[in-house]
Amino acid sequence: MSKQRQFGLESREKKLPDFSMLLLSVGQNQDKAAFADIFQHFAPRIKSYMLKLGSIDDVAEELAQQTLLKVWRKAQLFDPEKAAASTWIFRIARNIRIDALRKQKHFFDDDYDLEGIADEQENAENKVSREQKSLNVTLALSALPKDQTRIIRLSFYDGLSHSEIANQLEIPLGTVKSRIRLAFGHLRKSTHLESGEMA
């Protein structure tokens, strides 16, 4: 998979719909046509996410259905100033997977995930469109070398530990760590990501 394809440059050329606008319309007007557009794009991708994380086909499809139904039910809580549509949908999909598949409780803050309740440090300057911020991160990701994007993906989307990544890619653990460090250094420079402690 080319990194353009992975992170959306190609799709940008295809002019993806503005999912935040669609989601707003679902929330405000119970707009079924907008919902159908969101479904057509995200359901097959949520299914692929569920499959990647170990669900069998039927279950992955059912979890994608559940996710989209929850998107419909909760769309009124979506606030484009607090989250990009893709972030918001990702949170719902992830939480549904944890609750359903592992029969466990997830410990994410539902209020925050759905409503994006502002933390006290949030200031006016931060209240630009999250869709725009998300696009900036997309561009920064697509500009990274392929070996770095791959590791970011395995780590923060597929949720593998550093040592699992090292095993899977058959590279030393130190290389995994240094690539993550490089990738984040780059992302922080171009998108002002917060710095964290590098493990």
């Binding site: 692929s48 259905q65 939480n95 803050d109 440090q121 911020k133 964290g196």
Partner: protein, 230 residues
């Protein structure tokens, strides 16, 4: 409260992806609920997760999938929304979810331990060390312990398999890595061996989650180990 020690990118990333075991997740959630910095970093990682979802390779849904969903829509109860004018205590109370105040017991833990630490019923397990059994959480692959360590007492030196997370709820401790006060999280990989000591005249209460039982090296510590895997 000022927080000096945060979650590593690795732990936060795995939490964000939803792949951590429950015990570890609970401690991560507990720290995030009081740490605006880690909350912000979690947002950014979720942003990356969302981008990856948005541009993932699609996997074919069954041909009537959309039709099925559309039929169900009519039957869904929509979540009511409070109008902006509605500032009843009910709607504003949800805002406390992330007020980053200074709760003694962070919100995610309240289902498992008393709201006030003074109400915890401790069991002594070793000289200077008390233990509280947290119930109601599956710990098949990991351990979760709430410990109260008397001033000047060491937790025996130990190593770990996998992640060990320690959140300080009261007091402080010091180890080979640094000093950890209220709210701080010690996020250690398997390659670290350490021997924390409660370093003030106040007992240190901390919550420790591990991916696997701690590997203590001495004889007395086996007692701690026995309790911490229960």
């Amino acid at each position: 409260m000022s927080i000096h020690h945060h979650l590593s990118d690795t732990t936060l990333g795995a939490f964000t992806a939803g792949t951590l075991i429950e015990t570890i997740s609970l401690v991560v959630a507990s720290h995030i609920s009081i740490c605006p910095d880690c909350r912000k970093r979690q947002d950014q990682l979720e942003n990356i997760g969302g981008i990856q979802l948005q541009f993932a390779e699609p996997e074919g849904m069954s041909s009537d999938a959309l039709q099925k969903a559309m039929i169900k829509l009519g039957k869904q109860e929509l979540t009511p929304v409070f109008s902006p004018a509605d500032t009843s205590p009910l709607s504003s109370s949800s805002g406390t979810a992330l007020s980053f105040g200074n709760p003694e017991v962070p919100k995610p833990l309240r289902a498992y331990i008393p709201d006030r630490l003074e109400d915890v019923e401790w069991k002594p397990i070793a000289p200077g060390i008390k233990y509280f059994a947290m119930e109601g959480l599956k710990t098949a692959n990991g351990t979760l312990s709430l410990l109260k360590i008397a001033p000047g007492v060491n937790i025996p030196e130990h190593g770990h398999q996998g992640i060990e997370l320690t959140q300080v709820l009261k007091g402080s401790f010091r180890d080979e890595i640094g000093r950890f006060g209220v709210g701080d999280i010690a996020d250690f990989d398997s390659d670290i061996k350490h021997q924390p000591i409660a370093d003030t005249n106040e007992a240190c209460i901390c919550l420790i989650a591990t991916e696997a039982p701690l590997k203590f090296t001495g004889l007395l510590p086996r007692l701690v180990q026995y309790f911490s895997v229960m």
